[in-house]
Point group: C2
Chain length 132, copies 2
DNA sequence: TTGGGTGCAAATCTTTTGCAGGTGT
DNA sequence: ACACCTGCAAAAGATTTGCACCCAA
């Protein structure tokens, strides 16, 4: 029952994530935090990212073949993951609600969340391929 | 342009995965393979799992907080992941096609795949919670 | 004052890789 | 024979954790 205490590191991490649309990895967050707190440790970043995830302030995305990514946009939306460059982009699809309802009907447990992900090539990577 | 050669290890791994509905991790596959090939190495298991994934014979699922899981059911379906015990279950939802089509309309890249995942508590974990 | 938070470093877990020898074609 | 595949072990990458000290409440 940890009584949460204020920490400026945690506040900065949250603030940073809210400004981003790039879904940074823990390490990217760490690199950015070092500019404000040169002595911050990677462990602290991880601990705070887990904490914020538990609190529901941010969302954790596990991506194939790489580090997990974090997202401060908690309203429901989907992600596109480029299989070439690994970039993660937001995608707004309305059908998710329907999907969720259909799943709930077919399932005996309790569904609390849903995340649809699309894989493929992003615009940039398609262009690069054409140049080869 | 690797010319694929037969390997009984790879064949066994594929066969094993096709019998499973539990979405085993690489390590679980390894443990099972050891019963047939006591000297098989974890490296071989990983190499073959990657190879089979590239061939499209199996599917790789990256799950939050844990090792990747493998699934030999390649026809499109969704997954439910229990946030309590980590179990992964298949879920059949028809709306996925609609979702895919809607996403393609809103996106400039090329979408090749889609995977919807649901999070929540499985039936067993709900029962356990009630007992406490 | 007290318990949560931090930095540091070591440990853990997962996955990849280099190499020498084995095996399918 | 040649190239792929394997076992072994070391390496690499991501994340967690133990510990002593610091700081918010």
């Amino acid at each position: 029952m940890a009584a949460l205490k204020y920490s400026r590191q945690r506040e900065s991490i949250k603030e940073f994530l809210m400004e981003q649309t790039t879904h940074p990895t823990a390490d990217m967050v760490y690199e950015n935090m070092k500019q404000i707190y040169p002595n911050i440790s990677l462990g602290t970043v991880y601990r705070n990212l887990s904490l914020l995830t538990e609190l529901g302030d941010i969302q954790k995305l596990s991506c194939m073949g790489g580090a997990d990514r974090y997202d401060a946009r908690t309203h429901p939306h989907c992600h596109f993951i480029c299989t070439e460059c690994g970039k993660v982009m937001d995608l707004h699809v309305q059908t998710t609600d329907v999907l969720l309802r259909e799943a709930e009907e077919h399932f005996n447990g309790k569904i609390t969340g849903c995340s649809a992900r699309f894989f493929g090539l992003c615009e940039e990577c398609i262009k690069k391929q054409k140049n080869n």
